[in-house]
Symmetry: C2
Subunit: 409 residues, 2 copies
């Protein structure tokens, strides 16, 4: 294939933080994001946390001329928040919902209700098949005691597996999203190691933006400065990753992040910084062969590390399931006892000091609520246990295959 | 590639109906299935409804010598019930859980608790990459008034999309399972039309077994004869489907089903009949080109028909969500009213005829339970609505792509 000059692709990625009634200056910011996308004319805009479909429709209406193709991925109670605007036709889409995504009773965190997922779009640009993935993983609320780490590791594993299994027909793979993982975290090492995806920040020759490529920075007025205290420069959790397959190589010509405010404005687009990557796609020189087929021996350690995290999560989930089962049994016993007492009073076996009726009823109300809730939670944690066991088993199989490959090299 | 003689593959598929404490003669039948698999030495055995991991482990232990490789897919509360025994190494596995799968409150049906899914196994046989899919879709409990039809259509669509997106690297695609759809149903026409999979029963030259290839037959002693009354010959809902990609063609040399009892025994393996396909894989002759790339104009009608079913489901789900929302609001109002009455009696504003305390408490117990349940169901049906909307949108996009392809032909 002759491509002269090589294909240049400008990709915009942003976690928009657009929660109705909760996010500050949401409407102004959505307006601002729409204006910027319209003016800049990127090839692709990958957005996360566009929770309201009304906001998506507003953007879509504004951007029809510049981005005639777009897609919103629906899932969960609120919606996945994931959407994509494209200058090129979207040929097909597919959604994979992560099997684990926090807990429905953690209402203050709310990730469970979002149905976190990875969306795949197949886009053909100048005859090159792009598999574009957009995702948003479970948030990290407390780094020191991260209760969601096993779920995030499972999500990273499922993301890696999903990309590997669905990208065989692609020429170029592109992943953008808020991965909620620092660059050195086990999940991102697993994702990169397993898929061979390259990090635009690590690979680019020209970078402009926040130091270390951070995308949550203290300079952003919507950021809780206290939460970022252990990281004075901020943290990098939003990524544009890519790889060329078979006949193509991809390079990141330049990478830009916003630096606390939208360019030329007094407010930022979001509480996250936008990541803008300019990628260059050109045909692979035959001699160099296909990339990504070599197995790095370090990957074995990474999969092992991830597997340990999954095991820790499994242990916790089993404990939680056990407590809920025990609670359900206790509530059931109490209800049975009350039923027996009620029956005995009906047939005239009144005890000398009857239990006050009001307290009696209140107690049965409480027992019923506890029974119902703990039964639902028992079922929920059983599903969690099954999924963690399944992932652990998959990782074991993957490790075996890896070791076989390494020993035959 | 030179393959002389061509590769012959014997595939065994069975819905094992192995529900602990509920399925009749479960242990005997699992023993019998294990014995048959051991004696016959198939290349692949695709099993469904092995709900108990203990049964899987028993089979695994028995079959280690003959089938050194096996995998059990974990999901849902009970487990997916899907497992595979293979004579050849399993290189990788991946699980996709269907986004819709019945209702948790339909305890008598219980499909929701199984976490219905499609499992993918990648197996290399004589240098040929097989993508083997095993699945079990939502059951049909009443054909005339099938409340689960929209969910099953969504599952068929997700199955078709999953196969299409994950099979690009395969030489041969093989799908076995209990699809719970008659051969003419919209879901199976959608699945076959979208993926280009061929039906071993329709394609084979040599068939031996129940008339019309039925896999639920009145001759089976575990079958409820009344339920099969409209179909005197039985129905065909278990399938082995296949296709060759790029360099290979697959043919079904022969297909056999059991006929109500296990061969030479007095009891059947299960309430379903086993399907045994002998497939022949050989290199494609270059001149004939790759199959499956041509688009059939009828597919547009099939996708449209499926989309209509999804819309019907969407309408029902929206109505159910609305009723649950209304019920939650009513229960909340009742609780607020009771709280106000309770407070007024506390501050001494006793009404002349006070409400009996016991009935008062019982009513609040009822209101609390109703409030909790209807809130949970509201959330559940909201997720259902989102997924149906998402599928409908995906189908719209697919139709557009189909029509573009057809008009450019």
């Amino acid at each position: 294939m002759d491509m002269d000059p090589p294909l240049q692709l400008r990709v915009f990625n942003l976690n928009c933080w657009a929660i109705r009634y909760l996010s500050k200056l949401r409407q102004e910011r959505i307006g601002l994001i729409g204006d910027t996308l319209g003016q800049e004319g990127f090839d692709l805009a990958l957005l996360q946390e566009v929770w309201s479909e009304r906001d998506y429709c507003e953007l879509k209406q504004k951007l029809t001329a510049c981005y005639p193709y777009s897609h919103y991925f629906k899932s969960g109670v609120i919606g996945s928040g994931l959407c994509v605007f494209s200058r090129y036709p979207i040929l097909d889409t597919f959604l994979y919902q992560y099997s684990l995504n926090g807990y429905p009773y953690m209402l203050q965190h709310g990730d469970w209700f979002c149905g976190k997922a990875v969306g795949l779009l197949i886009i053909k640009i100048c005859g090159i098949i792009f598999h574009v993935y957009v995702t948003h993983l479970h948030a990290e609320y407390c780094r020191d005691k991260d209760a969601y780490l096993p779920h995030r590791v499972v999500q990273a594993w499922e993301l890696a597996q999903f990309i590997q299994h669905t990208s065989k027909g692609a020429d170029v793979v592109l992943l953008g999203g808020d991965l909620n993982m620092h660059p050195g975290d086990v999940g991102i090492r697993l994702l990169r190691g397993w898929t061979g995806l390259r990090d635009s920040f690590a690979d680019t020759e020209r970078f402009e933006g926040c130091e270390d490529g951070c995308t949550l920075v203290p300079a952003n007025c919507f950021i809780n400065k206290e939460e970022l205290q252990p990281f004075p420069l901020g943290i990098r959790i939003d990524y544009v990753l890519y790889k060329g397959l078979s006949r193509f190589v991809v390079k990141c010509d330049s990478l830009v992040t916003t630096t606390g405010t939208a360019p030329g404005k007094s407010i930022p687009y979001s509480d996250h910084e936008a990541v803008i990557a300019t990628l260059c796609v050109k045909p692979r020189e035959e001699a160099k062969g296909s990339s990504g087929s070599a197995v790095e021996p370090e990957l074995v350690d990474v999969v092992n590390e991830a597997r340990t995290e999954v095991r820790v999560g499994l242990h916790t989930a089993e404990r939680q399931r056990y407590s809920n089962g025990r609670m359900a049994i206790l509530a059931l016993l109490l209800l049975l006892l009350q039923a027996a007492m009620g029956l005995s009073s009906l047939v005239g076996w009144d005890s000398p000091q009857p239990f006050p009726k009001f307290s009696f009823s209140l107690l049965s109300l409480l027992a019923t609520v506890v029974l119902l809730l703990s039964m639902v939670l028992y079922v929920f944690h059983t599903i969690e246990v099954k999924m963690l066991q399944g992932t652990e088993e998959q990782m074991r199989l993957a490790l075996q295959a890896l070791q076989d490959k390494l020993s035959s090299m």
